[in-house]
Amino acid sequence: MGTRVIFKNKALPYLLLVPQISIVLIFFIWPGIEAVVLSFFREDAFGLSREFVGLYNFTTLFADPVYLHSFIVTIVFSFWVMLLAMTLALYLAIMADRAIRGSEFYTTMIIWPYAVAPVVSGVMWMFLFNPTVGIVSYFLEQAGYQWNHTLNGSQALLLVIVAASWKQISYNFLFFLAGLQNIPESLLESAAMDGARPFTRFWKIIFPLLSPTTFFLVVMNVMYAFFQTFGIIHQVTRGGPNQATNTLVYKVYSDGFVGLNLGSSSAQSVVLMALVIVLTVIQFRFLERRVEY
């Protein structure tokens, strides 16, 4: 478990922790508490009047079909982003791991998208698929397929899923590659000598040994799809058409920052916070048991 560092001065470790703790308190805990408080009030934008409304903000939320729809959109979106980003990354990692020549080149190329800011990648996807001037939509039209994600909700959702996954592949790739490189060559060789085919070797040896990485990535990808895809959605679809890509996070932004409805927006973030805590607990309770560290 690593070496324990012993401090002679009892106060010193606490002193060293102060900057970190205060940052967490000021920027995370305090605003978090503020949001919880605000979710029980109805307030005008300028904070000139504040009225306690109890659970009103929450009850209206759950009575609102638009909000419930946003839940479904988020689940569908996150599931596909996770699946797509992880399977493709795993495939690429296996290929790069096997490559004899130029594997560093491939690795660098695959990691590249990770350095692109979400907004920039959003702009890129928007231009590729713009129904009027996009190059991809042009080819699709030539092939007889009408692409118009400004009106077709399924196309819009597909587009943001692909765009969000593309960005996350690099991150997953990096972890999978590291995981693969940690698998002792000898294990695979002996399996091969016992007559295990490549697929069996993957399924019986590589995949189980990768499970800690996979588990970690499942958690990180769900978090990514939930929280960090705002920039892409904002650039590509703005939550539309007709709510088709309005995820929970995007809705918090549009209700809070554009709509200035602070009470409802806070209630939504509290719900999200609860959701993440529950999700994490479930993941560790049930998934962790099946993971071999």
Partner: protein, 455 residues
């Protein structure tokens, strides 16, 4: 490896908290501008937060510079605060932190929110009164200032950049389709007829930017029907949306039906559909008059502008259109000397020379009659007749309670709802009636929320 689990768990909970902080987070306040002048002769500095990027932002700097150099008592400092929504959020956060700017540019849909915050703002008419600044509301073009004026004629904020939607048409395309390029369609049935000929010539008919603003809000004013009760919200917070009337349903149904023949093409939210017009996919396009410069720069064909089409059988159409854009609000909590500076600056900004220059440079409407006259006298419209269309349309008739503007709370979100429902209609998921009924009932719920929060 319980520790690993613990660490990841902590990371997740922290992330959740970061996220949850979104609602309560406030941008850092701007440096204080309230230091008292060190000497009696030191100039008074005031802050002007605005949302004008790019070329317009440079022009804002130039206007402030012009004012600062015209006298030595006051200094205006423009500060760019991002887009409209960001500027408004920053201003509100600064007010909550007790440190608001003196002047802030707020988009037209934020008007009701600003107006309801009586303790946070100083209405322009009051500012002018208290500082003894000469001010005559009759100098201003009523359809422009009307949007920011109370029902009994008191100006609350100073219009800055205002525009109104017009019809752009591709003259080259008209020629190819055998249409007269100097005779744009006047009515919706004519638009449909023209479009059929344009479709036969390989184009699509027309599309629109800002569909809620143009095809619902301006559509209502242009046909002299209410968008909402209580004079579109001017007379009270208890206004109810009314754009599911038979006339509105008929118009939206026509747009939806026209999609099959390619007479109408939906181009997306905001003005992303502009590319449809500049890339010659559609031959006609309704967009803000302020979009003129952009098309002039991008279009490789000859185009013109004309007034918005109307349904000829509707009594009272065409009436006048309403504006979009933004106005300047004065915020509360400053000294008398600073308010004097704001008032002086507003007088400067309203002067015919400054207004005419701003109008001719940007394509936004002039706010005073004198500036319009000056531009005429300078022969600007002889060279740029297409830029006068908007003014002719705005001044076609004196505004009435249907056409002064829109003053509804939570209006940015109501526009989002309109996008939603119109998209559902154009995608065939809902009929025009179902979609507009749903938009109205969802919008009304937001209006009731606003009413309760601003009692």
């Amino acid at each position: 490896m319980k520790r690993f689990a613990l660490i990841v768990g902590l990371v997740l909970i922290t992330a959740a908290l970061v996220f949850a902080s979104g609602g309560g987070e406030q941008p850092a306040p701007a440096p204080s501008t309230q230091e008292a002048p060190t000497a009696a002769s030191a100039p008074v500095t005031i802050q002007w937060w605005h949302a004008m990027g790019g070329r317009l932002g440079e022009k804002v700097q130039a206007i402030a510079k012009g004012f600062n150099e015209s006298q030595s008592n006051y200094i205006v400092e423009p500060v760019y605060k991002g887009n409209y929504a960001e500027t408004m959020t920053s201003g509100i956060a600064a007010f909550r932190a007790g440190n608001p700017p003196h002047i802030i540019q707020i988009y037209e849909v934020g008007t009701a929110t600003m107006m309801a915050a009586e303790k946070a703002i100083v209405p322009v008419y009051k500012l002018m009164e208290q500082t003894g600044e000469p001010f005559d509301p009759n100098d201003y073009i009523p359809t422009v200032t009307g949007y920011y004026t109370t029902a009994d004629g008191k100006m609350l904020s100073l219009p800055f950049n205002s525009s109104t939607p017009v019809l752009y048409f591709n003259k080259d395309a008209f020629r190819k389709a055998g249409l007269d390029p100097n005779k744009p369609p006047k009515t919706w049935p004519e638009v449909a007829d023209y479009s059929r000929k344009l479709v036969a010539a390989g184009y699509s008919g027309f599309s629109t930017a800002w569909i809620s603003w143009i095809q619902l809000e301006n559509f209502s004013a242009w046909h002299n029907v209410p968008l909402a009760s209580e004079a579109n919200g001017f007379q009270g917070l208890d206004a109810v949306l009314e754009y599911n009337s038979p006339l509105h349903v008929r118009h939206i149904k026509a747009l939806s039906d026209w999609q099959k023949e390619k007479i109408f093409v939906y181009g997306g939210r905001t003005n992303v559909g502009n590319a449809l017009f500049s890339s010659e996919k559609v031959a006609m396009y309704t967009e803000s008059s302020a979009g003129y410069a952009g098309f002039k720069a991008n279009a490789k064909f000859e185009f013109g502008t004309s007034m918005l089409p109307y349904w000829p059988d509707v009594k009272g159409a065409p009436q006048n259109t309403i504006i979009g854009g933004a106005s300047l609000w004065v915020m509360a909590g400053h000294t008398d000397a600073e308010y004097k500076a704001v008032a002086r600056f507003f007088s400067y900004l309203s002067s015919p020379e400054v207004q005419a220059d701003w109008h001719q440079f940007s394509g936004y409407l002039p706010i005073t009659k004198a500036a319009y006259q000056l531009t005429k006298d300078q022969g600007f419209y002889d060279k740029n007749p297409d830029l006068e269309t908007a003014l002719k349309q705005m001044t076609l008739n004196p505004p009435n309670e249907n056409t002064r503007g829109v003053r509804l709370g939570n209006f940015p979100q109501i526009r989002e709802i309109n996008y939603d429902e119109l998209e559902a209609i154009f995608d065939g998921q809902k009929t025009a009636k179902q979609g507009l009924d749903s938009a109205v009932s969802r919008g009304n719920a937001l209006l009731r929320e606003f009413e309760k929060a601003n009692k």
